[in-house]
């Protein structure tokens, strides 16, 4: 048995690696008497792709909003790298909603460069000259990676649903957030287009080394995309007071890609979510 010499630097690095990116400690969320989430204890490492499924109103969207900073915990803690997560949205966490994610009054290119303009032009929120040219180049490269090069000067209302979501994703990535939040981003798309979007999001997840949290209604999508699948459901139920108990993560499944089978105990949930 060898005893390693004490080295603080190595220890710090190990600690940093061991420190989860997101950690929930006994997290509760209530609206008045309505308990939405209870006793959530979970930690997520950088680079994971978390997919969240569950029936409507089971708190998965609430959890996403808490990650985003739109809602704050009622009790307990939600930590980002050991510190309480900022209680308003900022550039550390990107978001793609199911709809209304892009700005209707800006063209595709403007929709992406606006993020850099926010960053570099605090008063006018607009860039000119060479500063603008650099940003435009960067935005074009990003738009090429999502396949929108042919539509740079179109307005969002001239795009199809899939193209809009591609734009929303490009927009969310330009400020290089470490965490990307997806709120049923492909829910309104046709199956064929959805398959294309799956390839795109997996490719971007790898390229940009993102940690992704995705809410979905489609369990097979959850299994296909995620490295880890969470099922939100209520552990306790009181039929006389349906709001008395909140939901939590009832299944936390590591997923190996390409192994696309749904465990028998989840079949009923699959059915429930597909009925929605």
């Amino acid at each position: 048995m060898t005893i390693l010499p004490f080295d603080k630097k190595i220890l710090d690095e190990k600690r940093a690696k061991a420190m989860p990116l997101i950690k929930a400690k006994n997290l509760w969320k209530k609206y008045g008497d309505n308990v939405v989430l209870e006793r959530m204890n979970v930690s997520v490492n950088a680079g994971e792709f978390i997919t969240m499924v569950g029936t409507s109103g089971c708190g998965k969207s609430t959890f996403l909003k808490m990650l985003l900073g739109m809602e704050s915990p009622s009790s307990g803690e939600l930590l980002l790298e050991g510190k309480p997560i900022p209680d308003e949205p900022d550039q550390s966490r990107g978001i793609v909603f199911q709809q209304y994610s892009v700005f209707p009054h800006l063209t595709v290119l403007q929709n992406v460069i606006i993020a850099r303009e926010f960053e570099h032009s605090p008063i006018l929120g607009k860039l000119f000259g060479s500063a603008k040219r650099n940003v435009v180049e960067e935005a074009k490269a990003l738009l090429e990676s999502v396949g929108l090069t042919h539509a740079l000067n179109r307005y969002p209302h001239e795009l199809s649903g899939g193209m809009k979501q591609r734009l929303a994703i490009a927009q969310a990535l330009i400020r290089q957030p470490r965490i990307l939040l997806l709120d049923e981003p492909f829910g309104a798309l046709d199956p064929g287009i959805r398959a294309d979007m799956h390839q795109l999001i997996l490719q971007l997840w790898r390229e940009h080394q993102l940690t992704v949290f995705m809410v979905t209604h489609d369990l097979s999508e959850g299994f296909y995309l995620g490295t880890r699948l969470w099922v939100f459901d209520k552990l306790r139920r009181d039929n006389q007071a349906p709001n008395a108990y909140g939901a939590s993560i009832t299944y936390d499944l590591p997923v190996t890609r390409r192994k696309n089978e749904i465990p028998a105990e989840l079949q009923t949930i699959t059915k429930e979510t597909q009925d929605l």
């Binding site: 985003l68 739109m70 308003e88 949205p89 900022d90 550039q91 966490r93 990107g94 978001i95 909603f97 709809q99 209304y100 994610s101 892009v102 700005f103 209707p104 009054h105 800006l106 606006i114 993020a115 303009e117 926010f118 960053e119 605090p122 008063i123 006018l124 929120g125 607009k126 307005y155 969002p156 209302h157 929303a168 927009q171 969310a172 330009i174 400020r175 957030p177």
Partner: protein, 272 residues
Amino acid sequence: MKRLINLTPSKPTRLLLGLLPFVIIIFIYLVASDARLAENATDKLLPSFAQMGDAIHSLAFEPSKRSGEYLFWQDTFSSLYRLALGIFIAAIIGFTIGLLTGAIPSIHSPIAPLLTIISLVPPMALLPVLFIVFGLGELSKVALIVIGVAPFIARDIQRCTQEVPLEQLVKAQTLGASTWQIVVRILIPQLLPRLINAVRLSLGAGWLFLIAAEAIASTDGLGYRIFLVRRYMSMDVILPYVAWITLLAFLVDWLLAKTSRICFPWHYPNSK
């Protein structure tokens, strides 16, 4: 035979049907006017088109014997100037208040209830107050338009601001935008076509306040003229003036609609 709700007239038919009521009204007027004039050639109630043409010709193309001005154009210019100034000031005030109360909750709380109450005050009832405070000059006429129109625009813009989807505001924040940047880059550009819309809707009220104020205290203007010649029962002046005011209102409205379409093509997703 299809159901009535499924029968859509073709385009030329629609145009003809649209013109038909105008033709009928003019025809009825002509017949009635002819009948009255045949009975009494000095009848003033339903003048012929020739009489109206003469009256307007002398007002528009012959200098006034008293002041040497071309009264018709002088009236038109004065009225449009007052209306434009009043609506412009009202638009700026209304837009600012509506935007701030709609976008910023801590401004909404103290201002919004006040705004609701102010917009319920009948502006015409305030006209005497304006005359007392601002005198009988231009200022009180413009002020009446501003007071009558600004609260409406403010409330409309406030509603539109609150209707901007929350998703967009959250998205902007995740792109690093400050409150100021959100206002300047997201809200103001999206609200400008809404402002044009609100102005179009408030122009009717604007004309009402303008003509009312001119009727009571003025020395020129379209409203002043029609109320002045009413004393002589000069329908040959009143009717063309009313038609002219209607035409001006139509043109201003059309111009605003056109401007909005050209400047904000993204606001009209369903038209190509």
